[in-house]
């Protein structure tokens, strides 16, 4: 049986999504819904938004992100997420491991063509 696109994506996402969230925060804090919109636009990185907030919550418990409440121009205050020093280090480490992983996969795929 050939696995469908969704099954393949779901496997690949498993280890990468949390680092994509950290990467989105590298340039500054972001609001939860905004992170969801930036990640979830094409359905590649994020299957459904239902996973995102629990994931953010876990990253917070792990000390990789921190949150602060900000007043918004309209409506109630919003919770903003930003990287901690540890989160930033975790992201750097993932980035270097990911490059090695990606290169290895790419060269294996090219080799099989």
């Amino acid at each position: 049986m050939v696995p469908g696109d969704d099954a393949i994506l779901s496997h690949l996402r498993r280890g990468a999504l949390e680092y994509c969230v950290l990467a989105l925060l590298r340039d500054g804090e972001a609001y939860g819904l905004d992170i969801g919109a930036r990640l979830g636009g094409d359905g590649v990185l994020l299957g459904g938004e239902g996973t995102l907030y629990p994931l953010l919550s876990r990253l917070r418990r792990q000390g990789l992100v921190e949150t602060s409440w900000r007043e918004s121009t309209a409506g109630p205050p919003r919770r903003y997420y930003s990287l901690t020093v540890e989160g930033s280090q975790a992201l750097d480490r993932f980035t270097s491991v990911w490059r090695r992983y990606r290169d290895a996969v790419d060269s294996a795929l090219k080799g099989s063509l």
């Binding site: 779901s10 996402r13 498993r14 999504l17 939860g32 819904l33 969801g36 979830g40 299957g47 459904g48 938004e49 239902g50 996973t51 995102l52 907030y53 629990p54 994931l55 953010l56 919550s57 876990r58 418990r61 409506g75 109630p76 205050p77 919003r78 919770r79």
Partner: protein, 198 residues
């Protein structure tokens, strides 16, 4: 926390039903993880509804919930990614066939054979031990069989060695001691002698 909008009863029911469904799907999950996941999903819903202009309609709520994904998909995703951890001892894992299963079963059979054959059982006993160790290295869902095989193997080896030692002692006794000690000859005579007829 955010000052959530006041929802119409109909819209509030939709949200509550969604969260109840999700809570049910996460029934076997660590309570802290579960509360955390449910709380954060509710916060997401509140945030998304706060973004909207004008009164929140049931359709708005349905849209937000659709973007979250079906409760079973969200629960599955959360478990699969390890965002929440299951309280139950991963049932899929323990029942799934593992590479060492056949080896564990063979080890058990050899263990049983070993115990049934007093001295010859040394060979299958050692084999059962070797295979039980190999099954552990390969990983097996039949941990019970592996452990029983290990125990039977050890028992067979110990009993086999004791019996061998017994034979050896008896043999030494007959060859060495028999010629020197009158007692042995007496005992032997008593044992082998036909019953005295009075």
């Amino acid at each position: 926390m955010t000052d959530s909008r006041i929802l119409s009863p109909e819209a509030a029911t939709l949200v509550d039903r969604y969260l109840d469904d999700l809570a049910r799907m996460l029934a076997g999950v660590d309570p802290t993880d579960r509360a955390d996941a449910l709380g954060s999903v509710r916060e997401h819903v509140d945030d998304a509804l706060d973004e909207l202009d004008g009164p929140v309609t049931p359709r708005d709520v349905a849209d937000v919930l659709r973007r979250l994904g079906a409760p079973e998909d969200v629960a599955h995703d959360l478990l699969e990614r390890g965002i929440v951890t299951s309280n139950l001892a991963a049932p899929d894992e323990s029942h799934a066939a593992r590479p060492g299963d056949g080896v564990a079963t063979t080890a058990l059979v050899l263990g049983v054979v070993a115990v049934l054959l007093p001295v010859l059982g040394l060979v299958p006993g050692v084999a059962a031990l070797v295979l039980a160790r190999r099954a552990r290295r390969l990983g097996t869902a039949h941990e019970g069989r592996r452990i029983v095989a290990l125990v039977l193997g050890v028992v067979a080896i110990v009993v086999g060695l004791l019996v061998l030692a017994g034979f050896a002692t008896t043999f030494a006794f007959w060859t060495d001691g028999g010629s020197q000690s009158g007692e042995v000859a007496t005992v032997a005579a008593l044992v082998t002698a036909p019953p005295a007829v009075s």
